[in-house]
Symmetry: C3
Subunit: 303 residues, 3 copies
């Protein structure tokens, strides 16, 4: 029976994650060998319950679930389809009445997935809540680094871009820290990570020789994100381009959570160059989610 809930803040057991990463790597290797289906969730009913649209995350989960042999229901409750006047608790009880064994939930409000688990008694995987948390993104990111570097103790990662509203940065930096990584942050003045520890702020991305990982974030100027400075200014001072990549250490790698805004926060040369592991990272989303679903269902403890 599943009994876990993916709140990375709750789980400080590095071994739990390492076991998950080992399994994710095993699954990756089996895919590379042409074996994709691992029916450990046969006879398990899963609901992907999305309160905000996210085709990519939903399909990544659905793919993982189906490769594991699960039976899947997709339930989108956006805007008008949540009944007027109905409480969130009642909506959740209604969904629980479809009798899923687990639920994957995305909601714009922080804490919703945990509340959903409390109300329904059904194990919930957090597929992103508000600006706080995106645990499976953290899993796939740190899995990718673990696969690359092995021991992560003391490794340095620099998050670059719009850090103030990023659930990716919040989640991934937390898990990276658990593995002993040193997290640094570089952003324009108005986009700093609010709770960045003293000494972790980096002024410019012009000297990247110290870092094992440069993690570029998506910038969306069309959302009015850059009122204080122009797109051109951002590109000149912060974009990860060939000149900045040239300052990286030989063994340094580049990551990005996708979708990339090419030309804005990252150039083609950086995204497609030999230091980029962005597409490998992207593929690891499936393998990390498969390992997580399997581990939770098998009862490998709460995470």
């Amino acid at each position: 029976m599943a009994n876990g809930f993916l709140q990375i803040t709750d789980n400080n057991d590095r071994n739990w994650y390492t076991a998950l990463f080992s399994r994710a790597l095993e699954i990756r290797h089996s895919f590379e060998a042409g074996r994709k289906f691992h029916p450990s969730l046969e006879g398990v009913m899963l609901i992907n319950l999305f309160f905000e649209p996210s085709t990519r995350t939903r399909v990544s989960f659905e793919s993982a679930e189906k490769f594991l042999g699960a039976t899947v229901l997709n339930v989108n409750l956006q805007d008008s389809s949540t009944a007027k006047g109905e409480t969130e608790e009642d909506t959740l009880k209604c969904v629980a009445g479809y009798m899923p064994d687990m639920m994957v939930i995305r909601h714009k409000r922080e804490g919703f997935p945990r509340m959903a688990q409390d109300v329904t008694g059904i194990p919930v995987i957090n597929a992103g809540d508000g600006k706080a948390c995106h645990p499976t993104q953290a899993l796939l990111d740190v899995f990718t680094l673990w696969e690359r570097f092995g021991d992560l103790e003391g490794r340095k990662i620099l998050f670059l871009g719009n850090l103030s509203h990023s659930r990716v940065v919040n989640s991934t930096s937390r898990l990276a820290s658990l593995f002993g990584m040193q997290c640094h942050y570089c952003s324009p003045p108005g986009w700093q990570k609010q709770d960045a520890p003293q000494g972790s702020i980096v002024e410019t991305p012009d000297n990247l020789g110290d870092y094992d990982v440069i993690y570029a974030l998506r910038i969306q100027f069309e959302r009015g994100a850059g009122d204080e400075f122009s797109k051109e200014e951002y590109q000149q001072r912060y974009r990860l381009d060939e000149k900045r990549v040239a300052t990286m250490a030989d063994h340094g790698v580049i990551m990005h959570p996708a979708p990339m805004n090419r030309g804005v926060e990252i150039t083609d040369g950086a995204a497609d160059g030999e230091k980029s592991i962005i597409f490998h990272q992207m593929e690891n989303g499936l393998f990390a989610r498969m390992a997580l679903l399997e581990k939770l269902w098998m009862g490998g403890g709460s995470c």
Copy 2:
């Protein structure tokens, strides 16, 4: 082979329903014992064909179908996706060309599901047509009462709220009557059930000691439903609240088809109190639909 069609008006055989309820109860017990999958529809292709959006009903059917091992296609033909100029018959023949063994159909016009069965020759389950009929809601409601009370002969049910446009009231009262229940109706003046038999109208819900069941209906003031009186007036005179619940018989129960508009037609105390079987009723939707799908497919006669 399936040969049934769910028009409750067509079927006056109490035994047919009792057999269905027995099976639904069996299925409920198996779920409670941890066994959910009952693959009696393996190798059966089902289409859920929805001409008006209804996430809840659709997912309830889809869940039932998948627990029975069926292969499922969801087809939403709303608004723009029905081709301009194409006749309904041609649209149905197009869907029939996907070669389903059964179809679950929801449409805003009364009689559409039956017409669809006639045109295609494929067994159709009516998932709600117009204001006339919502047969599977009736099934789950009366199943819930049968589970609770056993013999329903002479039991009294009071429908409370907006009764004039309710397919729930139409369907459930009809099936309840077949089981010998006495149906009573209480609503504000403008919201009476049009075809309520003489003597079945109740003025106020202030003395509920006579009823075995109080069935509260959803009120939507935002749809301009209450032009003749205010929300406050409704709450004062008709809402099922603790004071009114206190007048109920000891063995009386409270039902509601959901989603509840808490505070409007029902208070928290009534909805969550010990007389409420609303969440049990909600869960029975899955079990009643599973039993129905199985029975129709197994050829248990027309209903």
Copy 3:
């Protein structure tokens, strides 16, 4: 392993298609005998990737895939769900990261499906790209004719209606020609097929005795298609009506890709009369797609 790609222009091997048609007919017969599931794609993950909405084509594919036992993901990337700033190549790599074995792709731009196969290395079936190509429509059309007439050498087909923007006409005429059919075209002045060979243009559809097949196309006046003449004028001069049907040869048949705009390009008498094989043609969509999916997966060569 699958290695095909459905560009009819690439494949001039009549035998390849004949083998496919034979298999489609076998499948049709098995359906008629009550056996629908042919699990030759069990353990295969398929993604239906639609960049423009097309419920009919998508469900036809999904039905075919599920009758073959495949595991299916539907991914709709329309409008807002394609990320701003992301390149098409990156979007495709993201989808490829869900690790499908094959993809069925519809896109409004010609050549997109082939590009998608090149970028991802995953076999792609073209479910319609731009105004250029709709290969599976061609398959089901020519399959239907092959089933009807056997040898198609020298048979005459007349395409009638709005031919200038029709991917159906482009695709079906090409495949019909490969089988030795003579294609003729009849349309109002502004709607001619641009690349129609000399001598293939027919002025009026008033004498149809020479043709084995009359293929009527959908007309949409609401899209401003008929600026140059009125709906009434079209109906009088080009609509396939009983009078024109009466001029057809005894063995002649009527086809239409659906959805029909009854009364506009075709009358009820023509659509439902004894010469019409429109509904048979419609059903063949499923069988042709099943045969194609199976053949591509089994490695029956590129098409």
